[in-house]
Symmetry: C2
Subunit: 121 residues, 2 copies
């Protein structure tokens, strides 16, 4: 594989809440996404989800608290925990999660992007 | 868990080539390390190793080529591939790898830090 410049990868798309796969490691996919506004409440029963923010501010709303992540901050949403990400305009973040992870868990909305639809860039 | 500020975690230690565990996700450990100079040639037969550089320059020497990573760049060393990391002074990087991953594979040197010795910060 070639090395990956993360900022350069973010220049390749404009869609929001549309994860793009940039690498794979030990059966987990490294995905990047842009966000603005709110996704939907959902959970992943079997997968932890690692978030790292590169630009802007991503808030991981949990039922118990809000985790506010700025650039350079990370958090792991443990499997089974309901969450609803929301983001300031033009927020850039990375997710690392097993390839089995459904975008919005069992919650399917207009905004949901199936794993098959998650483009590799 | 609390959110993790990655830059702040780097202020908590000074040792080089001494991975510190900052999070766990899906049985994989998120580790950060500082480097300067060269580690040793080694491989991990069963684990891919994901590197992300946050500061400085980390070169992943492979037998076939050198992968030169600057801040904001990443690479996955596939299982079984021999590699020898070397770094510019004060380089900061992250590794994400299964908890089973031995620091320098089957190559044990003075610089090797066993999994049990890899502190959680």
């Amino acid at each position: 594989m070639n090395k990956i410049n993360i900022a350069e990868k973010f220049t390749l798309f404009t869609e929001e809440w549309t994860p793009k796969v940039i690498a794979e490691s030990n059966g987990q996919l490294v995905k990047i996404a842009k966000g603005s506004g709110e996704l939907v409440w959902h959970k992943h029963d079997h997968e932890d989800e690692l978030f790292i923010v590169f630009k802007g501010q991503l808030t991981l709303q949990l039922r118990t608290e809000d985790i506010v992540l700025n650039a350079g901050e990370m958090y792991v949403v443990t499997k089974g925990i309901e969450h609803c990400p929301k983001a300031e305009p033009d927020t850039h973040f990375m997710m690392i999660e097993p390839s089995s992870t459904a975008h919005t868990g069992e919650t399917v909305s207009e905004i949901t992007v199936s794993s098959e639809q998650q483009e590799r860039i």
